[in-house]
Symmetry: C2
């Protein structure tokens, strides 16, 4: 993390602490105001084209016996995060949960400590990754992008992301790095490891001037931040290539429009990103080997038809086509036409289609 | 892959094909002899200290109607792999499954194509990774080891594995690379991403001259090969750090002694690797936050007590202690004592203990 950013974050945390301190000194029971993260306050913002929190707030008060537990949890999280940022270290949601024990804060389960962290994110309007708290999962990246690390011990050290053909992990070091230079003209986000390796081997990075990101299923938030940064800072269009099933469409949509769970986090969605495929209509068009939809898939598709994020004619057509065909197809089903078909035929056709608008 | 290795593998595949061809030309129904991979032929070899196949073989004959399907599958896999190795490409188990469709080979499910690949591995006595077939999952590595790639397009290019603090992925490129130089004196294999990042941040690679490997749960076979190579080629002791529960012990044991599923694969186990922890006895010794064993954990522990791989007094004591305590503890539970305790106290104590013998 850059020194400037660190001291800004520390200022924010201290502002929060000072609020409580001043109430105590003024002989008041302290209270804190928290943006309301309940469903009734989660709104799909058509201007911003992603989920945001509405204006509602809730108040936690130390003189309400029902609030004391969550109030204390929140204050402890603030204390923990302050130390973490000061030390310039990173940790995980799980670490936070266990670290509490030493302070006789007994979280009932990790859910409870995760909740307190989400509240604190919402109060500061800063995502936990910038506070040094990362999840377990890791995605990977490959392509012509030179980054410069800002993390302790590596400041100023650079890496070009074509240095390792299997991809490098997207963890705290990459998430906090700066972009130095790139020749890439687009970003391709890929759901499965098999397809990511195929793209690297076929040099999609060179042939299509693309930065490749492997999400390994639903991408962690640090990866979604990175995708947004590539789009906003470098002005690169983003294409998302997933399996052709409800889960794949959902992966794409969460990158594009965010999720209700993270409505309280700014700057996470990439509304200009586009789903490259596998579209429901691709199953017909490319005569892909496919599987039957399960009853759960069908149920999920009906839910999605009503979801505000899927109201465009493009998405409605795709969801309807899944239901009509009653079939789904994996990315790797293109192997039916040989290993390189997906790169030689499918990818250029789809990119052309998307870039025409 | 090196040219020499490629032509050796192609020779082996052609030898297999020639056997069938010569039977056909001699007007015989072709048959092939396959090492028997059934449970009755899987033996724990106390000399080698890992699972191996016994001497039994089975014969698949084209004049037996019950054998025709698996015989054909096997011949097609040989054909596919021959093309793959010739082209110097990699693929996944899933790719193989889908690729068959273009040849009107209809595998009922991926299980069936996986079976044919395992048979072919056993016949050639060559693991599928060396034939270019990888699974989806990826582990990661970090530490002072310089590798040189042998994969197409990157031959001769080098990378030092401290270049990226989040770790680089262990995929086909890393699996086929050569080791050039290292200052490391040991390898530490780590189950969870959170602990891996902690170790990198605390510079365990420097302080303990260690190469760090993140398995992300049960390590893929390519990672187990790599661990063995680090142990055999570079003569580095290997320590495995997992959660302190039956699953963590199992992860360690599969690295050490192999699994029944891969008894037909040579050179996969690392019998000299050691489980560093979290031992059942560590839960008491370090007063770790712990959880109750589930009934499934208890059942699993009783199975393990009878498993030939767990017969040493060390393992028996650990399994008994789990059952006595009725508790398990995660790697990250050390956070209870602060984020760096695990690196400053636990790790040096355990390494000292293991290196004393």
């Amino acid at each position: 993390m850059l020194e400037r950013e660190r001291s800004e974050i520390l200022d924010e945390i201290r502002r929060f602490a000072r609020g409580i301190y001043e109430q105590l000194v003024g002989h008041e029971f302290p209270r804190v105001s928290i943006p309301d993260r309940s469903t009734s306050n989660i709104i799909f913002d058509p201007q911003k084209r992603h989920y945001v929190l509405g204006p509602k707030r809730t108040v936690r008060r130390a003189d309400n016996v029902k609030h004391i537990r969550s109030f204390t949890n929140l204050v402890w999280v603030a204390y923990y995060v302050h130390n973490l940022v000061k030390a310039g270290k990173s940790s995980t949601l799980r670490d936070v949960y266990y670290s509490a024990e030493a302070f006789d804060i007994k979280f009932k389960s990790q859910d409870e400590s995760d909740e307190a962290i989400s509240d604190f994110e919402a109060i500061l309007n800063i995502p936990r990754e910038r506070l040094g708290i990362f999840p377990e999962e890791r995605s990977a990246i490959f392509g012509d992008l030179t980054i410069e690390y800002t993390c302790a011990g590596y400041e100023g050290q650079r890496l070009n992301l074509t240095s390792h053909p299997d991809g490098v992990m997207i963890g705290p070091a990459l998430a906090t790095s700066n972009f130095v230079s790139t020749s890439a003209e687009r970003v391709i986000v890929i759901e499965t490891g098999g397809m990511f390796t195929r793209f690297v081997e076929e040099r999609v990075d060179k042939k299509y001037r693309a930065i490749l990101i492997h999400t390994a299923g639903q991408p962690p938030r640090a990866t979604r931040f990175l995708i947004r940064r590539l789009n906003k800072e470098l002005n690169l269009p983003v294409y998302i290539f997933t399996d052709g099933d409800p889960y794949g469409a959902h992966i794409a949509q969460v990158i594009i429009s965010g999720s209700a769970n993270s409505a309280h986090i700014p700057d996470l969605a990439t509304p200009d990103a586009k789903w490259l495929g596998v579209w429901a209509t691709d199953i017909k068009r490319y005569k892909l080997p496919s599987d039957s939809l399960t009853s759960k898939d069908v149920e999920r598709l009906h839910q999605m038809m009503r979801d505000p994020r899927y109201q465009s004619s493009f998405w409605q057509e795709q969801l309807e086509t899944f239901l009509e065909l009653k079939r789904k197809a994996e990315q790797q089903s293109f192997s039916r036409y040989g290993l390189t078909y997906v790169v030689d035929k499918y990818l250029p056709e789809k990119i052309r289609e998307l870039e025409r608008g």
